[in-house]
Assembly symmetry: none
Homo-oligomer: 235 residues x 2
């Protein structure tokens, strides 16, 4: 069984080290103490689970958590928030911004392990990682896809949009969801999304799923209906 990727984010480098040491047997670990770096690591590397201290020098863990939850590509990654000096208020805040668990220090390695695994198990069971992309292959490094053997180059935006849909099949994705995930802070017209959808669709020609518009509320990825092989006899 492959080790799951765990990202540890703590202001205190010694704690990072202790945790990394103690958990390296079960996880493939990355550590950092900077929230911005963490965000970059997460978007680029998408860890399986995140262990996050509420106190971070460069921006607090709460706001990072909130930011991660707003991103369609990331929001399924479980987040455990740790804190040094626990208060009920901190706990409520943590859960409020979407944390999956909340632990007070000093932390017992055994406890952390058990809780990390409990979260991972849930996500794994419930999420549709088993979705079949059918005749589509993704090459993240090159922003390329392969469809029935034919290669097609996508732009970065198109590629990321495709990833959003593939990781949320049959789920409504609003234009705002897409903007938040891909454009982050930059302000762009909502209708700009349409243009990219249009060109993505053109490149996905024979893909056995289709990106359909949901009148008034966004887009959705659906398996395309099987077309009858027989014509109906209409007068």
């Amino acid at each position: 069984m492959n080790k799951k990727k765990l990202l540890i984010l703590d202001d205190d480098i010694r704690i990072c080290e202790v945790l990394a040491q103690g958990l390296s047997g079960e996880f493939e670990i990355t550590t950092t103490h900077d929230a911005d770096i963490a965000y970059r690591i997460i978007t680029k590397n998408s860890p399986d689970i995140i262990l996050l201290d509420i106190h971070l020098g460069t921006g607090c863990g709460i706001s990072l958590c909130k930011k991660l939850r707003a991103n369609q590509l990331i929001k399924n990654i479980p987040i455990l928030i740790m804190t040094g000096h626990g208060t009920t208020d901190k706990m409520l805040q943590s859960f409020d911004v979407g944390a999956d668990d909340y632990i007070e220090k000093p932390v017992d390695l055994v406890v952390i392990k058990a809780r990390l695994n409990a979260r991972l198990r849930r996500v794994q069971e419930l999420s549709h990682t088993g979705v079949c992309f059918g005749n589509l292959k993704l090459y993240s490094e090159r922003f390329e896809i392969e469809l029935d053997g034919r290669c097609e180059r996508l732009s970065e935006i198109e590629f990321n949009m495709l990833k959003i849909f593939l990781s949320n099949p049959n789920k409504k994705i609003s234009r705002m969801d897409i903007l938040k995930t891909i454009w982050d802070d930059t302000r762009v017209e909502e209708r700009t999304v349409d243009v990219h959808i249009s060109s993505l669709r053109r490149k996905l020609k024979d893909f056995n799923h289709h990106i359909k518009a949901l009148y008034g509320s966004g887009y959705i990825l659906r398996p395309s209906e099987k077309k009858s092989l027989f014509k109906s006899f209409e007068a």
Copy 2:
């Protein structure tokens, strides 16, 4: 928003009562102190989430949890295990048999609430499953219904009308009721409702309830009469 169904299972009836009292604002609660009864309730009633004491007179909470996890229909229901005298070993055992969370008594109501909600949110997000009503499934987010496996998209107006009927079965709904609820201030002819009813009915084809007109006073949702396969002999 509908209250989620919470099943509380504790040996100590007083604790059941205290918890039920404190959580009744947010949840629709059932309590029991017997594991076998609990299992029956769960299979029959499928609560949204379960709060379970590890000590049960009639069989321990651990084995109940294990049993629940083995059942495909139940295994997605989140389970929080409580214990009176916590030990690391109990915690490990709890997570081991598939608990989603582990809490030691004495429990703070605020903590329980936060943790229950965190679990519910996760399950809800990951398994975007619809709400059932008879043989009809509703997907509110995307205004879609599923009937016998076939999906049908409703317009926003149609979907909201359907929800009005489903939340008031067997109750007379006047056109004005519908207008006030859906159109709010906008002025629209009462007859407009009829048109939407018409198209909604077309899409509800095989639904085992039917929207009937009440001559002169509106509409009502009724279970549709089973049609006899044989003709009745009317003179």
